[in-house]
């Protein structure tokens, strides 16, 4: 028998490779523990709770001025628009998405590209929700992300080659995916983005290794949820019990409630939290009722997709106040008792603190300066007390004439839009990127759609103040007080991050990455990245030095709308870069 040395060599090197892959593979443990491991970032939200709080305290108010760029990376091509992603960092590699469903692996020491993946988007695709993408999920040897044509794609983390691709929904029916997925116990959890009408939101779990569907949970009352076993769909209860309780006619069949911003997870209660979008159609007069589970937060069992509880922020939404905003778990002490709470800042202008075990309302308060659509919240239930005359009129009632104009504040783009807030475990404050704007809504006297007469609404967004729209706020979740604020000329559209060094980072459309004192709001640092920052910064430690990364590339929803706001932002240039900064070792001393 001839010995096959070549074969042996291959076998042993394959083994070595497998071992090294095993060592670098992202495990469930890594994901669950991400918020405590500052040397890597393996979850969207820097921890599944989405607190975006780093335990790193090397960077402080004393030395942040020495934060300096290490490398910058261009996404290339002409697709310079709307870079809203959060980078991930694992074992010396950064995984980040760019707009138009692109993924990049970058050597985090040098900024060299390791691989790039461009999803092939179908001809004639018209994504509902711009071309943004908010990031990847990491699991095992895979980098998983959602595409504009509503697919989940799992790439090999070392080669960037697809390992599985699953269609989550039909893009032709108006679906897309822009949020970063998350992985809970080996399952990829994703929601869907969708156009105004005809879609139904849902949350789904896919086996991260194979891409097989594990469960599906529709977010509109009346639709059946399923668990999949051996390729068979097993009924797992109708969302909300039955159809027609909070919707008229068959409107629940197309009720909207898109889950377009992804979710967070709390291990204490083993719950996935998702926000849901506005109900359809836009004309609220056609759909009397609460229209569950639109504009709500829902707690979902990660094992089978059952809904544990829900809390609706805007019942019978008539302003496009979507309720997708992230729900962030945090604990606080109340008379020596630990309260398992969760907070969310809604597009409707109110911030809510809920009991995350059962969804009970603890307290709610405005986080914007003015709210016109509601007089306040019911102190017991948190349900809004609608303001008289605050709801846009029924277009069917006004024939061929410009209907009565309603001024609504916040505007439909929200007191806070998609951009995630951060929670500091040090200060106990939430740092909320928000905007002060209002909208006029009226019924169009003449409107057409697809060759036919139609009833449309017209609207225009306008700044609430002459000199600023964006406001970064430090909000105390125990009192509802605004502890400090930073006012920005352009609307804020990027996420926030807090650190144990008592710093808060965020970006501005003017192009700056900025750092603030977490306690006072004093601006301590700014660096112009060359294009608007609408992504979310991250920080990690490598070789004993603290790094910060953020995407630069103006875009997203703001430039899509005209009116007075356009005057503030129209001269901003688009872009597509990753910027990485660090505090050099020799500067730490100045601490």
């Amino acid at each position: 028998m001839r010995s096959n040395k070549f074969g042996t060599r291959i076998a042993s090197s394959a083994l070595a490779l497998a071992v090294s892959f095993g060592a670098q593979a992202v495990t469930d443990q890594d994901i669950m523990n991400d918020e405590n491991t500052p040397e890597d970032i393996v979850t969207y939200g820097m921890g599944l709770k989405g607190q975006r709080f780093s335990t790193l305290d090397t960077l402080t108010r004393e030395n942040v001025e020495y934060l300096q760029p290490v490398w910058a990376f261009s996404f290339g091509s002409e697709k310079m628009r709307g870079q809203e992603a959060q980078p991930m960092v694992k074992d010396g590699v950064m995984y980040v998405t760019a707009s138009y469903s692109r993924v990049y692996a970058i050597d985090v020491k040098t900024g060299d590209e390791l691989w790039q993946y461009d999803a092939r988007l179908p001809d004639g695709i018209m994504p509902c929700c711009d071309v943004v993408n908010r990031g990847v999920a990491l699991y095992n040897d895979k980098v998983i992300f959602g595409t504009l044509d509503a697919k989940l794609v799992a790439l090999n983390k070392d080669t960037g080659k697809p390992m599985w691709i699953k269609k989550v929904e039909d893009y032709q029916a108006g679906y897309a995916i822009t949020a970063a997925p998350m992985v809970i116990n080996g399952n990829v959890i994703t929601g869907v983005s969708g156009g105004e009408f005809g879609i139904v939101g849902k949350v789904e779990a896919y086996d991260a290794n194979t891409g097989e569907l594990v469960w599906t949970r529709p977010t509109v009352e009346g639709h059946m949820g399923y668990v999949y076993k051996d390729g068979k769909a097993i009924e797992n209860g109708i969302s909300g019990g039955e159809a027609g309780k909070t919707w008229p006619g068959d409107m629940w069949k197309n009720g909207g409630a898109a889950t377009w911003l992804g979710g967070t997870y709390d291990a204490d209660t083993n719950s996935i939290f998702f926000g849901t979008g506005n109900p359809a159609p836009w004309n609220s007069h056609l759909r009397p009722g609460d229209n569950l589970f639109s504009s709500s937060r829902i707690a979902i069992d990660p094992d089978d997709g059952s809904i544990k509880w829900h809390f609706q922020t805007t019942p019978h939404d008539g302003w496009d106040y979507d309720g997708v905003n992230e729900l962030i778990s945090f604990d606080y002490s109340d008379n020596g008792k630990t309260v398992k709470a969760a907070a969310t800042a809604d597009r409707n202008g109110f911030m809510y603190v809920l009991n995350r075990e059962n969804g009970d309302f603890i307290r709610g308060f405005p986080f914007v300066d003015k709210i016109t659509w509601a007089e306040g919240l019911d102190p017991k239930t948190g349900r809004p007390i609608f303001a008289e005359g605050g709801r846009p009129g029924d277009p069917s009632v006004t024939d061929n004439a410009k209907g009565e104009q309603v001024l609504a504040q916040p505007a439909f783009l929200g007191g806070k839009n998609w951009m995630p807030m951060a929670y500091s475990q040090n200060t106990g404050l939430f740092y909320v990127p928000s905007n002060e704007w209002a909208m006029d809504i009226w019924n169009e006297p003449v409107s057409y759609k697809k060759g036919a007469a139609f009833l449309g609404a017209g609207f225009t967004i306008k700044p609430a103040n002459d000199d600023y729209i964006g406001v970064l706020r430090a909000m105390d979740p125990k009192t509802g007080e605004e502890v400090w604020r930073y006012e920005n000329t352009a609307p804020l559209w990027g996420g926030a991050m807090a650190t144990a060094g008592d710093l808060v980072f965020t970006g501005t459309p003017e192009g700056y990455l900025k750092a603030f004192d977490a306690k006072t709001g004093e601006e301590l640092y700014k660096f112009n990245t060359g294009s608007g920052v609408v992504g979310t910064p991250v920080t990690w430690v490598m070789d004993g030095e603290q790094y910060v990364s953020v995407l630069s590339g103006w875009g997203g929803a703001v430039p899509l709308w005209g009116g007075e706001v356009a005057k503030v932002v129209k001269h901003f240039n688009q872009g597509g870069m990753v910027w990485t900064f660090k505090l050099p070792k020799d500067r730490v001393a100045s601490k």
């Binding site: 008229p248 197309n254 069917s396 003449v446 759609k449 036919a452």
Partner: protein, 318 residues
Amino acid sequence: MKHVTLLLLILACANLWAQEVDDGNDLLNRPADRTYDRILESGYLKVGVYENFPPYSYAEDGEPKGVDVELGRRIAKELGVEFRVHWITPDENLGDDLRNNVWKGHYLAKQRLADLMMRVPYDKQYAYMQDSTGEYINEQVVMFGPYQQETWQIAYDPNRLDSVETVAVFQYHPIGVEIDTLPDFYLSSGLRGRLREQVHHYRTISEAFNAMRQGDVSAVMGMRAEIDHELSKPANAHFQRAGNGFPGIGKQVWDVGMAIKHTHRQLGYALESIVDGLVRTGELHALFAGLNLDYSVPNYYQKFLEPKALARAGGEEQ
């Protein structure tokens, strides 16, 4: 089997878009500036029509069909150039469609524009609409050449309904509509919402007719040509046209014409005179009749044509 169907569907879709001319500027990533002279020189006319929108424009076995497609072919022939289809995926409103297909291009397909877009309502009030700062909203396009008048129509199943005298019967009988259309809004809010529970929503009029055949709804409301097209199918032969009115609908009838980019007016004048001829000679009426569709002369012509000329345009033998 399901996979085979899906594959065929994908192939069909790919085929649909592959028929189009790709004449944009790759380097500068912008559409070709196709003036009248350049269109004649190139030998083709890109006619923008809505996809999957029978009887106006749709594909059958990969072949563009429908009233708007046929009219597009006639126009191209009169210009002496080839007809090339440009499929339009409808956006939320007409303004979006004009931006994506006539003057600017969609942000995912910046090189892709139609030379001419069909089925654009001809309405001076709409054309000269101003925004809150006084700017003309539609200043980037010219809307011209009305070729048809469209209106609303209900078809019903006589086995379930004796007749439709008024829409009030739909307090008691289910009616199908295409989702997010005026009939949807009209019936869902009409009579103070008393019809609301009976309104069933479908993606297309064709799906609504399927539901009527299965007995899920007793009637369907849509545009007259859509309803007529369905009624001309043998499977729907037992359904009938209703004669009711639509009290409270702001727009009972509207003219339908075309749109071009505002810098291409010379093309517009040429197209206008071609379509004007087709309307006046009754050829458009014949085109509609050939597809089993009723034809109404645009209100634009009704205002100034002599009764005899009007009758001719309306297809009455001279």
